[in-house]
């Protein structure tokens, strides 16, 4: 049910135009951070205000929206953003990756491969990959403009010097189309290979930092690394305890105070689809049993 006090998808049409212009520019220059006039949204910064604005600008009444938070459809962030657009846009929502036309995500890329009919919108806390090494915005912009990315490797060097390997496991810096170094938002580095050559449009919105950037379909995205310390997408060395999937990204769940733990797919839709198809993991009972 649309709440008629709001314009479609909350933002006024002029704002959506402004955001669409930024999105078009971002798609035209893959990986480049386009400034935009980020609006106050009725949710706190850090809850996806950038992603919400990008989603609002992209939504059409015929869209089917899916919102995920750390892979899950049923956590606070996902539920509240989904409800937000149900109320303000009246669009259909879904939890199934394959049915969605627009997916807003926080910190994960769905396990199910995306298609050319889908848009993936990321929520980004800090869009500048060089920020923690170079605090000056004027300087980082100059470094992007002049393609001076040696500093990014200093970060990886520091990782190896301190931990013996590249310990950066999320927000792992990538180079887009041989040009811009980009922060892929805090997705696990396990998801990095999915960024590259994806048929879906990938849009990144940072509300507090007022930046939008994008990956057009089939863009080459390379994770930075050293010749002798190559990039490895890592995950917990287990299979999902509910659905038995060995190839999906897993969350570790501590189940009591005696050290028992289980590993479950972080992508809840992927896990449920597999269980509905009859796949069972180490601890996975039937779906009906769990509901009780």
């Amino acid at each position: 049910m649309t709440d008629h006090a709001y314009n479609f998808a909350y933002l006024d049409e002029e704002t959506k135009r402004m955001i669409r212009r930024a999105i078009l520019k971002a798609i035209a220059v893959p990986g480049y951070q386009v400034p935009f006039a980020s609006r106050e949204m009725p949710m706190p910064y850090g809850w996806g205000t950038g992603g919400v604005q990008v989603t609002a600008a992209c939504l059409t009444p015929g869209d089917v929206l899916k919102v995920i938070d750390q892979g899950a459809d049923d956590t606070t962030n996902a539920v509240s953003i989904r409800r937000f657009f149900q109320r303000t846009a009246g669009v259909a929502t879904t939890e199934a990756t394959t049915e969605a036309t627009l997916i807003q995500t926080r910190h994960r890329i769905p396990e199910t491969p995306l298609t050319a009919d889908q848009i993936l919108v990321y929520q980004v806390p800090i869009p500048e990959p060089l920020r923690f090494l170079e605090p000056r915005e004027t300087e980082t912009r100059k470094m992007h403009a002049l393609e001076e990315y040696g500093l990014m490797h200093v970060k990886l060097y520091e990782d190896i010097a301190r931990h013996g390997e590249i310990a950066t496991s999320y927000a792992y810096p990538v180079k887009v189309g041989d040009r811009y170094v980009m922060d892929p938002s805090p997705i696990p580095k396990f998801d990095n290979p999915k960024l590259s050559d994806s048929p879906a449009i990938q849009l990144f919105g940072a509300g507090r930092e007022s930046r939008i950037y994008a990956l057009p379909p089939h863009t080459r995205v390379v994770s930075l690394d050293f010749e002798d310390h190559p990039f490895t997408p890592s995950k917990a060395d287990h299979a999902c305890d509910l659905c038995g999937a060995a190839e999906s990204y897993l969350d570790e769940v501590i189940t009591d105070d005696l050290g028992s733990r289980m590993f479950v797919c972080s992508d809840t839709d992927f896990c449920r689809t597999r269980r509905e198809a009859g796949q069972v993991g180490r601890l996975g009972g039937t779906l009906e049993g769990e509901a009780a």
């Binding site: 002049l146 500093l151 490797h153 200093v154 060097y157 520091e158 010097a161 002798d228």
Partner: protein
Amino acid sequence: MSGPLLQVRSLTKTYGARIGCADVGFDLWPGEVLGIVGESGSGKSTLLSCLAGHQAPDAGEVIFATAEGPRDMLGMTESERRRLSRTDWAYVHQNPRDGLRMGVTAGGNVGERLMAVGARNYGSIRETATDWLGRVEIAADRIDDRPRQFSGGMQQRLQIARNLVTGPRLVFMDEPTGGLDVSVQARLLDLLRGLVRQMGLSVIIVTHDLAVVRLLADRLMVMKSGRVVEQGLTDQVLDDPQHAYTQLLVSSILQV
């Protein structure tokens, strides 16, 4: 190589009505160390930052003998200038905090320039960094310590290693021994002199410490109120100063 490495012609920089430096000109030859001395406010730091491209001068020419031939620095694009400043040039700041990344380990600091010019092999970067720490007398086991944990003298030596690692041809130094005590200064100067001779560096060193230029510089320029008042061979200028200000400067040194 034939011809000077750096030719400066009537370089002028004003801050509004005030003169930063005016009508400065000199040639710097490969392997030569040029000292610039003068009191505070005499324009020596302004001159250095104009030469190094940190500030844009109002008039004049700075012609650097790049690998592809002489180029006017002021006509270069910023990306060319910054590329030069990572490869052929080095800039040693007075305060090592300005020249180092304090939150990055010693190895990372030395390796940064290598990575900036495209080194992508961790093993070889680390090997080069270890080698350079040795050359500036920092123990190899300090490679993973951060500059904060170093003494002032060590920080300054680390800054020098970080700058020289890519084998620059021209080094700008702004009071490299300022803020260090005399025994540490002496060691640093000794080290610098060794590196300069060994690598055949051309150096422009700005200082107000005449002992530093006496030890390091082949040639000396004395500045006052933004203008060069006297220049010549270091020993000549210091032992037989002609200009009244140079005479004052030389006679102001306490004889211990």
